[in-house]
């Protein structure tokens, strides 16, 4: 039973990839992920504003407290290697590349054009096999038009592709007016893969304290439907790799995404819930399912339930919606 897959030119032994999450901050975890059959690891995201904020905060603390008082010309041990910026992230890539054989994908969440350029180049130089750009952008400015938002995405992709030679995946959100068209334009801008979808930070309110709640919750299996829809719609229509993320709790979701046409399926929350060795379980269950269904390879069934391949393509469109409503009646 072969689980090999190709993700934007990277050859993976399994379609199950660990998505960007803090688990990959520790090299021991990355090694464990490889041991348990992860196809690749997307490193935790490097947030540009966080780096800049930390850098500014620490520099501020350092500079404001240095040479200000005759008895205390500074307050911290003098460390040449001290750098709160991106260095530790890059070190993580380097160490991971030394310790494991599976592809290591850097994940960058930028803000400024300079940030995208600088950090993507540094991530490539550190040895990452590919880069996932996480365009986490909420167009809160109501003066910004949808075409401006789209242009911003495309511009980021073009900029990064000019800077790096490694494959670039774009993790995008589902809220474009024409997601399919955007996928095609992203491909034209140079994207090698799309990761569907980014889960936007959605705030809640605490009505007693009258403050915004900032808690995060893991994705649930029920959340796979939107990415499943779009992977099924895009499969075969845009010539780039498709990665599914969100809602992967077991091999069941993996199978579904593969049936829709995903090249890889990403998960993090299942590992938080069940531990890293759960990767092995998912791989095993995937193989069991394939065995049961008589598939030798992933390609044997990948995309078989995409819009292109099912007998009733309208099932993915309005007709399906009407059918459901009628069923409710």
């Amino acid at each position: 039973m072969k689980l090999h897959t190709n993700y934007m030119g990277l050859k993976l032994n399994s379609p199950i990839v660990v998505s960007a999450c803090p688990l990959s901050e520790h090299i021991d975890n990355i090694m464990k992920m490889e041991e348990n059959g992860a196809g690749a690891v997307v490193l935790f995201s490097l947030f540009e504003e966080q780096i800049r904020k930390e850098e500014a905060a620490f520099k501020g603390v350092m500079s404001e407290t240095t040479y200000a008082f005759p008895e205390a010309l500074d307050y911290f041990p003098n460390l040449d290697e001290f750098n709160v910026g991106i260095d530790d992230y890059l070190d993580n890539i380097r160490i991971a590349k030394e310790k494991v054989d599976i592809p290591i994908i850097g994940s960058l969440n930028g803000i400024t054009t300079e940030g995208w350029i600088d950090y993507s180049r540094l991530i490539e130089q550190a040895g990452a096999d590919a880069l996932e750009v996480n365009i986490f952008f909420i167009p809160a400015d109501i003066a910004m038009s949808s075409s401006e938002v789209e242009h911003r995405y495309l511009n980021i992709i073009q900029t990064i592709k000019r800077e790096v030679k490694i494959p670039v995946a774009v993790k995008l959100n589902p809220y474009f007016s024409a997601t399919g068209n955007m996928a095609m334009r992203m491909k034209n801008a140079g994207a090698d893969a799309l990761v569907l979808f980014n889960r936007f930070y959605q705030p809640d309110f605490d009505i007693n304290e009258l403050v915004i709640k900032t808690d995060l919750h893991y994705s649930e299996a029920g959340e796979i439907r939107l990415p499943l829809l779009w992977i099924a719609l895009l499969y075969g229509k845009v010539q780039l790799s498709l990665a599914a993320t969100t809602g992967v709790q077991s091999a069941v979701e993996v199978v579904k995404y593969l049936l829709a046409g995903a090249d890889v399926v990403m998960t993090a929350s299942s590992l938080y819930k069940n531990g890293i060795p759960y990767l092995k379980t998912m791989n095993k269950e995937l193989q069991d399912w394939m065995y049961m269904m008589g598939f030798d390879t992933l390609d044997a069934f990948r995309g078989s339930m995409s819009q292109q391949h099912i007998s009733d393509p309208t099932a993915y469109e309005r007709a399906n919606y009407i059918k459901i409503l009628e069923g409710v009646k």
């Binding site: 905060a57 350092m62 500079s63 200000a68 307050y75 911290f76 041990p77 003098n78 460390l79 540094l122």
Partner: protein, 1191 residues
């Protein structure tokens, strides 16, 4: 001269000395003390980086709990054969004295490197003179004095070599700050040079003398009258040999390096008639002055004393020209009551002895004088005055120079205009703020020029005594020859003002030479700026034909991605305008330096800095000014007319930087200064200040409670008071029941605000319609300043609320208590001062404070102004600082006095029972004095008593009158930081707590030595980094609370005002009410933790929520009532430790430098937190009988 073949560096004296000392030692035991701390810190840093000594091993650097401890460890390491050193100063050296006698008596080679500093006498001073080393001159240590940064480097090695050869330990000293902190260009010793001066056989011989069970012997016996004396005389030969050995080492050193030194180094005319004898950096000033005088035909000379102990008659007489007719010995020390200062007496005795031995034919006139105490300036003009004095028929003996002694008239007059030829130097003065990076940029400039060109460079930096809004002045000299000028710049050809508002506060252009360049960071453009300058500044620009340039550095920095950091911008301007280097060369050098600094950060950062440099040049404008003054003169000496005379005549002068002009007669004779002088110093250091919104406010008092500078105050009053209120005075009906027609006002003293933001952060009230508007918000000061000044005047006239009607038990109530600790110089957002303010509010009018040296003694007692204040009745905290190490004992002494005088008073009351009336006496003696109302009643009785006593004519009545105040209960508080309580003063603290006396100890625990710059203490928590714990503290924080609890009768509380203000308030009141020893450990957030202190309260919450700082109270009173005395005031930890810790640089830094170690330590720290919590939880559930009974 080219420096191609030499290792050249531009470093300060501390680094220069430490560099050599580190290479020739194996063990270094230290304790931080200004100004020597840097030497030890560097040694620790080098050791942590694995830098090796000349024998290929990394020295073991150990921080001790005190200098006494350091000396003991040094002694032990030496006795077992290690090459061992230490670095210290001032009181630190005093604590080493007992061991120094031992080390010298045992003929143990070692070098103590001392950045010589004043001793605390009428006041503490961190600055330089020779009082400390002179106090150690009797220990038997040899004494070798360096006069410059180069010498500090060279003599560190020479001393080591001479000590090993002679077996006599040596104090190698140089002037604190003047040399220790002066940056100068010097030639560095290579390891080969160092090795060749330290023969291996001497090192091996030292080791062989060490204690060794394989070859046992006893050293350190107790001796009797029969042999002790003879034993002391055995060392004579060694001391007799020492000058020759030192001379030989110096000669060998000269051959190695080309730098030649003598024990007594003479400079001047061969036939000089007047000669000055001097030691330390002042010798450089004298030597340069002598050269100038010689050139103009004046036959003078100077002997720079290098080896002061043993003082060699032969070498001295050989150095002194026989033509000398008059000698002035200059001592940088004061020995009250002596026949003269020490070196004067040495020279006098030596000369008489030489005369008796026939080595000189006649005795010249010999006088002694004092100069330069506490880094007082010592200039060529003063040197000239001394030579002029020597020419007089009857020169003054015991003179002073550099001050105006108008009481005993010891001082010599001097002509401040006398200067040496300074035409070879480019001299720049830079006025900046501590936080704006000016000093850092200037240090960088010196490095750029010193290490990349053939020019010589010198930098010296002057700081003021405030921890917030501190001003800095950088003195930079550059020239083609080595710069030997250990005194400040008085005439500069370049003046830079990095803060525009200094134009109204500092007389910068007083220091400008004619035609100088004046560079101003100005928010106004070149057409607007002229009219924005005060009249006197305009006048000086015109009179001195100043070349006036401006740049809006703040905007250039912001627009070029540099944020608020203007230092690179101003530095570029200096390079462009100063003419030190040709402009193009300057810009090339600065860009080269940028590349070097930022190469690790990538091309982008480098380009950004390059862009800023280019933008600077584009935005630098010369101002063509009219030859006419257009503005009014601004009076710098502005204290209000209502200020006391002392403040007007003395304090105000210090405030504006004219303290040097104050004559002796204006000083208090015994170090006593009036209370509450910060109120006269409106520092206006923050442009953003809190603005109160009465309609949103819920009057909780939180903002007033947390304000570190007592800037926010609250009163309630009858609404009729408002009839005379100025327009715009803010007020709201009080929101408490039972107070009809009563208004509430919150007044912000905005000129005293440091802009820390804590008040806004703590404010719980938000406008329901606009969530961004709180009841207190930061706003621009300028638009409201005039109005608020009137409001403050009005607010001050509203009487403080009657203390007996205030609910002390709540934070809400505490806001109405007058703070008697106000407007200190503490850091913006300080986490210590809110406790002190609360202390002053609760017990201020009967409070005695013994304050350990540290941050709290500096912001609490550093001149010019002090924050401990008094109320309208003239009562307030009586405060004193003794030392660092003895504060518990010092405070205990205050308690003993209170108790003793109370006993005396009670006895005399009984004695005068008939005259005073039996019931009246009984009332006074049996008064409870727990509640504020009871104390107020007792005050009235004591007032009545005093009146009665005045009418009774008897010695007993007179005596009783002198101690009657003690009949009102005294509140004695021992205040200090964790360095004091956990480390240096721990033994004393333990003893004071064990005394059972009614003392209250407040430990302001910042978990690190804050005042001296972030060294690790035993309060430093696991996993945090600090100096001497750069790899993260591995052992746990000492649990001082549990140690004190073990006595049973000590009230103990651990509090955090930001996490639970109510509990902190309760603990302070319980501690004070408890008739026995009390200990409060107060969590104090601090800039040494490494985050923006506006988040200090949030961090306090997290410290408690994570279990790092569990809140607790142990109350022996409960034990006596058969209840569990141990109360846990905080809930079970709700967040992991790292959620608290990693918001702070002190923890975070390790995750970057050594993530694995950080991980391990954090796990360990979390385990400790868990364990501690478990123990506390168990204690909280025990019965009274499980605890130590209280007698």
């Amino acid at each position: 001269m080219s420096n191609k073949n030499k290792i050249v560096s531009t470093i300060d004296g501390n680094e220069a000395a430490a560099y050599a000392a580190y290479r020739v030692n194996e063990v270094c035991a230290i304790y931080p003390i200004t100004p020597s701390s840097t030497m030890a810190e560097l040694a620790d840093e080098w050791a942590s980086k694995g830098i090796k000594n000349i024998w290929g091993s990394v020295p073991d650097v150990i921080e001790m709990q005190s200098e006494g401890g350091a000396a003991g460890t040094v002694h032990g390491a030496l006795q077992t054969g290690s090459l061992t050193t230490t670095f210290t100063a001032s009181q630190g050296l005093m604590l080493m004295l007992p061991n120094m006698y031992k080390i010298a008596g045992e003929l143990t080679p070692a070098v103590f490197h001392v950045a010589a500093r004043s001793l605390a006498a009428q006041g503490l001073s961190i600055f330089g003179d020779h009082q400390d080393v002179m106090a150690a001159r009797t220990t038997g240590f040899a004494m070798l004095g360096s006069a410059s940064v180069q010498e500090a480097h060279d003599f560190a090695l020479i001393a080591q070599a001479a000590s090993l050869q002679s077996r006599i330990p040596i104090i190698h000293f140089f002037d604190g700050f003047r040399t220790s902190h002066e940056v100068n260009k010097l030639e560095m010793l290579s390891d080969e040079q160092i090795k060749s001066l330290i023969p291996d056989e001497l090192v091996i011989a030292h080791r062989k003398r060490g204690l060794n069970p394989e070859n046992p012997f006893i050293r350190g016996t107790a001796q009797n009258p029969d042999v002790y004396f003879q034993g002391r005389e055995t060392v004579n030969t060694f001391y007799n040999n020492m000058p020759g050995i030192m001379d030989k080492v110096m000669k060998d050193f000269g051959k190695l390096t080309g730098r030649k030194y003598d024990l007594f180094e003479y400079t001047g005319a061969k036939d000089a008639e007047e000669v000055i004898i001097i030691m330390g950096s002042g010798g450089e000033t004298v030597a340069e002055t002598v050269k100038a005088l010689n050139e103009s035909g004046i036959k003078t000379g100077v002997i720079q004393v290098r080896l002061y102990r043993p003082f060699s008659l032969e070498y001295f007489i050989n150095a002194l020209p026989s033509s000398a007719k008059a000698i002035a010995v200059l001592d940088r020390t004061k020995e009250s009551g002596a026949a003269g200062e020490p070196m004067y007496q040495d020279v006098l005795a030596t000369m008489v002895e030489a005369l008796q031995q026939g080595k000189i034919k006649s005795l010249p006139k010999i006088i002694g004088g004092r100069y330069g105490l506490s880094s007082k300036e010592f200039t060529p003009a003063m040197v000239k005055a001394v030579f002029d004095e020597l020419k007089k028929k009857d020169p003054k003996n015991g003179f002073t120079v550099g001050i105006n002694d108008d009481v005993t008239h010891t001082s010599l007059e001097y002509d401040p205009e006398f200067k040496l030829d300074e035409s070879g130097w480019r001299q720049g003065l830079f006025f900046g703020l501590g936080a704006d990076g000016t000093v850092g940029a200037n240090k960088n400039t010196i490095k750029i020029i010193g290490e990349n060109t053939d020019l010589y460079a010198q930098g010296y930096f002057v700081y003021d005594s405030k921890k917030s809004g501190a001003r800095t002045v950088s003195h930079l000299r550059f020239g083609p020859k080595p710069i030997r000028a250990p005194y400040l710049i008085s005439k500069a050809d370049f003046i830079a003002c990095h803060q525009f508002n200094f134009t109204e506060k500092v007389e910068m252009l007083d220091f400008a030479s004619d035609g100088a360049v004046f560079l101003l960071n100005s928010p106004y453009n070149k057409d607007e700026i002229w009219d924005k300058l005060p009249g006197q500044v305009q006048q000086q620009i015109i009179d001195k034909k100043i070349q006036f340039y401006i740049i809006d550095a703040t905007t250039v920095a912001r627009e070029n991605g540099m944020g608020t950091r203007i230092n690179t911008i101003m530095q570029t301007c200096y390079f462009a305008l100063s003419g030190v280097l040709p402009k193009d060369e300057s810009i090339k050098q600065i860009k080269k330096a940028i590349e070097k600094t930022y190469f690790k950060k990538g091309q982008k950062v480098i380009d950004q800095n390059f862009k800023a440099v280019d933008a600077t040049l584009e935005n630098l404008f010369e101002v063509k000014y009219p030859k006419k003054v257009s503005s009014k003169t601004v009076d710098l000496l502005t204290v209000p007319a209502k200020a006391p005379d002392f403040v007007k005549e003395v304090t105000a002068k210090m405030m504006v930087g004219h303290g040097d002009e104050l004559p002796v007669s204006k000083m208090t004779v015994d170090g006593t200064y009036p209370s509450g002088t910060t109120q006269w110093e409106k520092r206006n250091i923050s442009d953003l200040v809190p603005i109160w919104e009465p309609d949103v406010c819920i009057q909780c008092g939180n903002c007033a409670y947390v304000c570190p500078h007592s800037v926010i105050r609250a009163k309630f009053y009858h609404k009729d008071n408002l009839k005379k209120a100025p327009g715009g005075f803010k007020s709201a009906p009080i929101n408490a029941r039972g107070f009809p027609e009563t208004q509430y006002s919150l007044q912000v003293y905005l000129e005293d605000c440091t802009g820390c933001n804590l008040c806004v952060e703590v404010c719980p009230a938000t406008d329901a319609k606009d969530r961004s508007r709180k009841a207190i918000n930061m706003g621009e000061k300028e638009p409201v300043l005039n109005k608020e000044q009137k409001n403050i005047d009005f607010f001050e006239n509203i009487p403080w609320n009657d203390r007996s009607k205030i609910d002390f038990s709540t934070v809400h109530g505490a806001q109405f208590l007058e703070p008697l600790f106000e407007f200190s110089g503490a850091c913006a957002g300080c986490g210590e001062t809110p406790y002190l303010k609360l202390l002053s509010q609760l017990f201020g009018d009967r409070l005695l404070v013994a304050n350990a040296t540290g941050c709290s003694s500096i912001y609490g007692g550093n001149l010019p102004t002090t924050p401990w204040a008094k109320n309208k009745d003239g009562r307030g905290p009586a405060w004193s600082n003794s030392l660092f190490e003895d504060n518990a004992e010092f405070g205990l002494g205050m308690r003993v006095t209170a108790d003793k005088q109370l006993d005396v008073a009670r006895d005399m009351m009984n004695e005068l029972k008939n005259e005073l009336g039996e019931s009246f006496v009984k009332e006074i003696l049996e008064a409870k004095q727990i509640l504020e109302s009871e104390i107020a009643e007792q005050r009235q009785r004591v007032d009545e008593l005093k009146t009665k006593l005045k009418s009774i004519k008897s010695p007993v009545a007179d005596h009783l009158l002198s101690v009657a105040d003690q009949l009102v209960r005294r509140s004695v508080w021992l205040v200090g930081g964790d360095g004091w309580a956990y480390d240096i003063g721990y033994g004393g603290l333990d003893h004071a707590l064990a005394s059972g006396r009614n003392i209250n100890v407040l430990v302001l625990d910042t978990e690190v030595y804050s005042n001296t710059g972030g060294q690790s203490s035993k309060a430093t928590p696991t996993a945090a980094t600090a100096k001497f714990a750069a790899g993260g503290k591995a052992v746990g924080k000492k649990d001082l609370a549990m140690q004190a609890i073990s006595y049973g009768n000590v009230y103990v509380a651990r509090v955090a005002f930001g996490a639970n203000p109510q509990q902190a308030l309760l603990a302070m009141r319980e501690a004070e009410a408890y008739d026995g020893p009390s200990l409060i450990l107060a969590y104090s957030h601090c800039i040494a933790h490494g985050y923006d202190l506006k988040n200090g309260l949030d961090q306090q919450h997290k410290a408690v929520a994570s279990g790092h700082w569990p809140l607790l109270r142990y109350n022996p009173v409960l034990r006596k009532k058969n209840q569990n005395p141990f109360v846990l005031d905080s809930p079970r930890p709700t967040v992991p430790l790292k959620d608290y810790a990693y918001n702070e640089l002190r923890y975070k830094v390790l995750t970057i430098t050594n993530p694995e170690a950080a991980d391990e330590l954090m796990k360990h720290a979390q385990e400790l937190v868990n364990l501690k919590w478990k123990t506390y939880e168990e204690l909280a559930t025990k019965k009274a009988s499980d605890f130590v009974p209280v007698a």
